[in-house]
Every structure is written in structure tokens, then in C-alpha cells.
């Protein structure tokens, strides 16, 4: 088993945090895992993305020219990375920030109203974690419990933050799917 996931969004949306939490969770489950932030752009700001590989064997390359899954947090990344998916691949996108997309027949796209849901639990900044929860439910690549543990480990002392973050994961996980996935 080798799964390659690409998280993409704009600079402040916590894309790298999502990736880190997922990779860390994979480590907790004793998978081989790699995390690679995109650092192609010389200057910060604009978009951010990272690739996570999870496997039960050694991972050759942490690069995913053709990922299995894309999780897009905003419109530009949804638009650009949907084209990179494997045929048969799946994309989750933040339907609150993503407008109309040109459809590709050979992939499945799942909308997640992540901002709305995050707002619902009083923390719009946790939209990324809603997406992560939904992603786990969709793919079953890891146990959701491992995500919780990972969040705890990574945010550590900040109890409040851990709580709200995991709450967001849970909302994403339990609520998925949120709508019609085919585009």
C-alpha cells in the first residue's frame, strides 16, 4: 500500500499543519510516511501545498507528481491541482471557498463546507481540520483516533487548542459526505 496525498490552499489556511498532523499520525500507526512541503516558489504568500505519502513499505520518493488524493482548501489550488490527480483519483475541496470548477470525467470530487462547519463550532480557523477529518472518513487510510493523538502530541500543552482542533476533525469525520461528489 502506498498512498500519496496532496494538501493545497493559501498561505494562512494551515495546509502545512494538516500535512504534518497526518504524517505524524501515520507515524503513530507505525506506517512509513513522508511529508514534503512545496518550496518551489521563491517568495512566501500566495499558495502553499504539501505532499504526504503513507505506506507499509519504505517510501522511495516523497514527491507526488500524480497524487492519489487532493485536498484543496481554496479555489486556485482546487483548480490547479485537480488536473494533477491520477485517473480514478479523488479530490476533497472546501466548497465554501471554491467556486465553479471545470469538471474532469475521470475523478471524483467531494465538497466539504469546511468554513461553515468550523464557524459552527466557533473556530473558523479550524476549517483545515474539518477537511482532514472528512479526508480520513473518505479514505480510511488511518484511524481517526491516530489523528486525535497526533493533534495532542503536536499541539501538546495548549489544551484548549487541542480540544477545538479535534472537535473540528470529528465534525469533518462524522459529517462526511456532505453532498454530491460527482462533478
Amino acid at each position: 500500500m502506498l498512498v500519496k496525498i496532496l494538501f493545497a490552499g493559501s498561505g494562512g489556511q494551515g495546509v502545512l499543519t494538516m500535512g504534518n498532523i497526518l504524517g505524524n499520525a501515520a507515524m503513530i500507526e507505525d506506517f512509513h510516511t513522508t511529508y514534503l512541503p512545496a518550496y518551489g516558489a521563491a517568495v512566501r504568500g500566495g499558495t502553499a501545498n504539501c505532499t504526504i505519502c503513507i505506506s507499509d513499505e519504505e517510501i522511495a520518493s516523497p514527491v507526488a507528481s500524480v497524487p492519489d488524493f487532493v485536498v484543496a482548501l481554496n479555489h486556485p489550488s482546487a483548480a490547479s491541482f485537480s488536473t494533477r490527480l491520477e485517473p480514478g483519483g479523488q479530490m476533497l475541496y472546501n466548497s465554501d471557498l471554491v467556486g465553479e470548477l471545470i469538471s474532469r470525467g475521470d475523478i471524483t470530487m467531494f465538497p466539504v463546507p469546511a468554513n461553515d462547519i468550523a464557524k459552527g463550532i466557533g473556530s473558523e480557523r479550524s476549517a483545515n481540520m474539518v477537511m482532514l477529518g472528512a479526508f480520513i472518513k473518505l479514505t480510511n487510510v488511518l484511524k481517526v483516533d491516530s489523528i486525535y493523538k497526533s493533534v495532542e502530541y503536536m499541539l501538546g500543552a495548549k489544551k484548549k487548542l487541542v480540544e477545538i482542533t479535534n472537535r473540528a476533525v470529528e465534525e469533518g469525520y462524522n459529517g462526511f459526505p456532505f453532498g454530491n461528489g460527482s462533478l
Binding site: S10, G46, T47, N74, H75, P76, G99
Partner: protein, 72 residues
């Protein structure tokens, strides 16, 4: 004073939504867009109802050469 009314145009795909023009336009002509441009920014949009004096302060502060001001 404002005999000739001027008009400001933002090349929205070049705008990065830094809001500097908005901050420095004394006449409040410019405001952030509701929607996003392709790059994902809330670009500046002129309110043609507001009185643009053609002072070009917005042009002066714009880091992206994204603004055009038209007048007589």
C-alpha cells in the same frame, strides 16, 4: 474643484489585494472585491459612484502597476 470626473480601472488579475490603494485614496473610491481573482485575492474595485479626482495616489502606492486612471 471636481469639475472633471475621472475614472479608475483596476486590472483585477494583476491586483494582489494589498489594499494600499484603498487605504490611501482620500475619496474612498476603492474597496476590496467580494469575490476572488484567479490568484485568489480580493482585488480592489472602484465604486464608480464615488468621486475620483484623478489624483493618482492609488497609482503611486500600487506595487503591481494594476491601476489605470482615466480623465480628460
Amino acid at each position: 474643484m471636481a469639475k472633471t470626473k475621472c475614472r479608475v480601472v483596476v486590472r483585477s488579475e494583476y491586483c494582489k489585494g494589498c489594499n494600499l490603494c484603498i487605504a490611501y485614496c482620500k475619496k474612498g473610491v476603492l474597496a476590496p472585491s467580494e469575490g476572488l481573482n484567479k490568484a485568489g485575492y480580493h482585488y480592489a474595485t472602484p465604486d464608480d459612484e464615488k468621486e475620483c479626482t484623478g489624483c493618482r495616489v492609488c497609482v503611486l502606492v500600487c506595487p503591481e502597476v494594476a491601476i489605470e486612471v482615466y480623465g480628460e
